[in-house]
């Protein structure tokens, strides 16, 4: 994917974030805004993805989402 296409996608994400404020979009934007990545940042990625089963364990609510990358 070329740079122009990437910029277009990022612009669309920003537009949607302003419109709906979805945490997932906000998390992506936070990650995109990082200019320096530390070892702690990388290690924090380990906790970002939970086992797939965990999203189906409750009939009341799905797994909590943390987008604090």
């Amino acid at each position: 994917m070329g740079a122009a296409a990437t910029v277009a996608v990022v612009s669309e994400v920003l537009e949607l974030a302003l419109k709906v404020g979805v945490p997932a979009v906000q998390g992506v934007i936070a990650a995109m805004g990082k200019d320096e990545i530390t070892l702690a940042d990388v290690q924090a990625l380990k906790g970002l993805v939970a086992g797939a089963e965990s999203y189906f364990v409750s009939t009341q609510a799905s797994a909590s989402v943390s987008t604090g990358v």
Binding site: M1, A5, T6, V9, V10, E12, V13, L16, K19, V20, G21, V22, A24, V25, G27, V28, A31, M32, K34, D35, E36, I37, L39, D41, V42, Q43, L45, K46, L48, V49, A50, G51, A52, E53, Y55, F56, S58, T59, Q60, A61, S62, A63, V65, S66, T67, V69
Partner: protein, 146 residues
């Protein structure tokens, strides 16, 4: 105008994974030639952003799938397959994160580890595409907030 955030996130994740692979390939080449001293930072940043974007998108997809299942909008077969695709993605994701962690610990100068990160990101793109394709086929889409 109503758009699926899932689609946008998926596109972004694939873009980031592609960019990450391209950047890491370039970095490995640079390191092999020992010509760039700052390429390691770009390698780590691009790889991190690719992983973070993919991970957040995975969260959004699976959370939506879980909610749909709770609301009986998804059957047990779809749930079982999403768990298979999801855990496959998770395994490759964790491999990529561990490789990037090791790369950073080594001081961003190990070409062999950089190659491992690059391969892991390529594998992650494949697994992510599988998950995305199946999720979309059963109607999983992150809904816009009201």
């Amino acid at each position: 105008m109503r758009k699926s955030i899932f689609t946008v996130l998926a596109l972004l994740a694939l873009a980031m994974l592609s960019a990450g692979c391209a950047a890491t390939n370039a970095t490995v080449s640079d390191q092999t030639n020992a010509t760039a001293t700052t390429s390691g930072d770009a390698f780590v940043t691009d790889s991190y952003k690719a992983l973070a974007t993919a991970g957040i998108t995975y969260q959004a997809v699976m959370q939506t799938a879980g909610t749909m299942y709770a609301n009986k909008q998804l059957g047990d077969d779809a749930k079982a397959k999403l768990i298979v695709y999801g855990n496959a993605f998770r395994g490759v994701y964790q491999t990529a994160v561990l490789a990037l962690e090791e790369y950073v610990k080594l001081g961003s100068s190990d070409a062999a580890m950089a190659a491992k990160v690059t391969q892991a990101l390529a594998d992650l793109a494949t697994n992510f595409a599988d998950l995305k394709t199946y999720a979309q086929s059963v109607g999983v889409a992150v809904q816009e907030a009201k």
